[in-house]
């Protein structure tokens, strides 16, 4: 298949459409404004709906409304906007609505800056909104990978009935890369497959026609998109149900990449664009005879703890260098997973400047020299 040179944001937007998304609700914010701009022109071409919301708060609630009908719905924003979406994301998680949310991360806190950053790892992976919930969270490290993830994102969201979050740093959205764009997926709402959705229930309808009942604990056969369970018993049943889903996702949905880790004495852990910079540093270090490899989580929730341990907890591995563009957020998961089995060093930048290969190399060399 032919490669096309595309800007990350536009490629991601096109991939969403190819994956069956027909509803986009969003609000402009750098560095992802090209996504709504692209959607505004492209959605009408495919009979879809682009709507510029009055705020990110409204946008995510429009997602809640449209996703409740069973449609494939997407919204995108950048850090301050994603903060505003947290209320709605928590409601989507509580009401078990499949949808896709893009966070093209920029520097924070507050207004921060408009440059790329990775500082929303905690927000994305550890919660963000209120309540015991998780999002299937992916951190692509190239435009092609973002496209490929998008092609299964809706299916995963629907399988587990949970929102999918893309944690992409601004560089992914802003750079141009040659990509292979997949074929268009035909998606149509099937009430039998989404018996929970608002697809047109009427009094007298045979409940059996809806397939399974709305959920294990709501006795209505109508579509009821809801996150309130007022008595302690039903809320705990609901939350146990959510946790069972998360457990299944943890068992089945971890994805990661190992790069030159087989004989490595030092392992770099990194996600997104930083991992690509690390690969160049690894290649250059190997030319100097230093055996370095990379462990890169692609799903940051569920975090691939076991795979990371298998990669790192081996005799020849002397240490781990975690590199991020934040103050060490994924670092906590790296340490949690390793349980002190190996020394972990951190290198990061706080102001949106990305680490250079030279910086990463000198960190590894310092580790090698025991500094």
């Amino acid at each position: 298949m032919a490669l096309t040179l595309m800007k990350g944001s536009e490629a991601i937007a096109e991939a969403a459409i190819r994956a069956g998304a027909r509803f986009f609700f969003g609000y402009p914010i750098t560095p992802q404004t090209e996504i709504p701009e692209y959607m505004s022109a492209r959605m009408p071409e495919v009979g879809g709906c682009f709507l510029q919301a009055e705020s990110e708060v409204a946008a995510i609630n429009m997602v809640y409304g449209a996703a409740g009908t069973g449609a494939r719905v997407i919204t995108s924003s950048s850090s301050p906007g994603v903060s505003l979406k947290q209320e709605g994301i928590s409601y989507c998680a509580g009401a078990q609505l499949p949808c896709v949310i893009l966070n093209v991360m920029r520097g924070g806190p507050g207004l921060g800056n408009i440059q790329a950053s990775q500082a929303d790892y905690f927000q994305g992976v550890k919660g963000g909104g209120n309540g015991d919930y998780h999002l299937l969270t992916y951190a692509p490290s190239s435009v092609q990978e973002a496209i490929d993830i998008m092609m299964f994102a809706f299916e995963k969201a629907e399988k587990y009935r949970m929102p999918v979050l893309f944690l992409a740093d601004g560089i992914i959205a802003q750079m141009m890369e040659p990509v292979e764009m997949p074929e268009m997926v035909e998606y149509k709402v099937d009430p039998e497959k989404k018996p929970w959705a608002c697809t047109g229930w009427k009094p007298g309808d045979d409940p059996a026609k809806r397939g399974v009942i709305n959920s294990i604990y709501i006795d209505t056969k109508r579509g009821v998109i809801n996150s309130i369970y007022i008595d302690t018993e039903s809320l705990s049943i609901h939350n146990e149900h959510l946790q069972a889903i998360y457990k299944e996702a943890k068992a089945n949905e971890q994805i990661w990449e190992n790069y030159k880790t087989e004989d490595a004495e030092f392992i770099i852990t990194a996600f997104g664009t930083v991992a690509r910079i690390a690969k160049t540093a690894i290649d250059e270090l190997r030319e100097q005879g230093v055996k370095v490899g990379l462990f890169r989580p692609i799903s940051v929730w569920p975090f691939p703890y076991d795979a990371m341990r298998e990669t790192i907890c081996r005799d020849q591995v002397k240490g781990v260098l975690d590199v991020e563009v934040n103050e060490g957020q994924m670092l906590e998961d790296v340490k949690l997973g390793l349980e002190g089995a190996k020394p972990v060093r951190f290198f990061g930048h706080l102001g949106s400047q990305f680490p250079t290969t030279d910086e990463i190399k000198s960190e590894i060399l310092a580790m090698k020299e025991g500094k």
Binding site: V57, M62, C198, V224, I225
Partner: protein, 252 residues
């Protein structure tokens, strides 16, 4: 024996949780009857109805309206309804919201739904108080009205004069039909029903945003008996919030 009166099919048989004398129940019934009638009249296909419940005393409205329902975050019902209606344009969509929900935390969402001329109907239940949380001051609380967060009565100099949502939204070009009603007398109940049904009809005709404000009692948090509450509404709320059509593009 022939049936002369029965419960509308658009309400489930779940018992309302509302306090005695609360107007929410009457308003629910009027909304449900109006939809049911449109179905009976062949103007609307059964099943093509979606409602959005708010956060407030009517948070459980999804249990009562016998159609596909959403429960929205506090104030966000108009955004949820926007998404739902855009996704299924052939359905009748309504939001049901209190005054804390709509006139305070959700002002941006309602203003912009009106501004975009969203084709759904909002039933706005104004009881001049936050009922569900136990009677705090709302933006609609009258000057001098005592609430748990205005214990000496609402002070206009300190927190402004009560907001008149219907008048305000009428100024928005995208708003199609806005009327303020009350359910304090039989005559007013009938007028409210007519207004609600008209708003739904406009929606079926593909017209823009419609809002029916219904002045409503909260005997529990007003500290009055149901009968006293009706009198209080008549003597205090109606003079400040005049009833009637605020905007009707269909009649122009």
């Amino acid at each position: 024996m022939s049936v002369v009166f029965e419960r509308t099919k658009l309400l489930t048989d779940k018992q309302f949780h509302y306090c005695p004398g609360c107007n929410h129940g009457i308003i629910h019934r009027l909304v449900a009857e109006s939809i049911d009638e449109l179905i009976q009249e062949g103007k609307l296909e059964a099943g093509n109805v979606m409602g959005v419940a708010p956060v407030g005393c009517s948070v459980f409205a999804y249990d009562y309206f016998n159609c596909d329902m959403y429960e929205a975050a506090h104030g966000r019902a108009p955004a949820v309804a926007t998404g739902a209606k855009r996704a299924r344009p052939g359905t009748l969509v309504f939001t049901y919201q209190g005054d804390g929900d709509l006139a305070s935390i959700g002002t941006a969402e309602i203003v912009h739904a009106a501004h975009r001329g969203e084709k759904f109907v909002t039933i706005f239940v104004n009881n001049a108080i936050y009922g569900m949380t136990g009677g705090q001051m709302a933006p609609t609380t009258l000057v001098g009205q005592k609430t748990t967060t205005s214990p000496n009565g609402r002070d206009e100099a300190w927190c402004g004069a009560p907001i008149k949502i219907s008048e305000m939204l009428s100024e928005i070009p995208g708003a199609y039909y806005i009327e303020r009603c009350a359910v304090n007398t039989n005559a007013n109940i009938l007028k409210t029903k007519k207004a609600i049904k008209k708003a739904f009809q406009y929606q079926l005709d593909g017209k823009g945003f419609c809002l029916i404000e219904v002045l409503s009692t909260c005997p529990t948090n007003w500290g009055l008996s149901p009968v006293e509450a009706m009198t209080w509404l008549e003597e205090n709320m109606i003079p400040y919030y005049p009833l009637g059509v605020k905007k009707d593009k269909g009649a122009e």
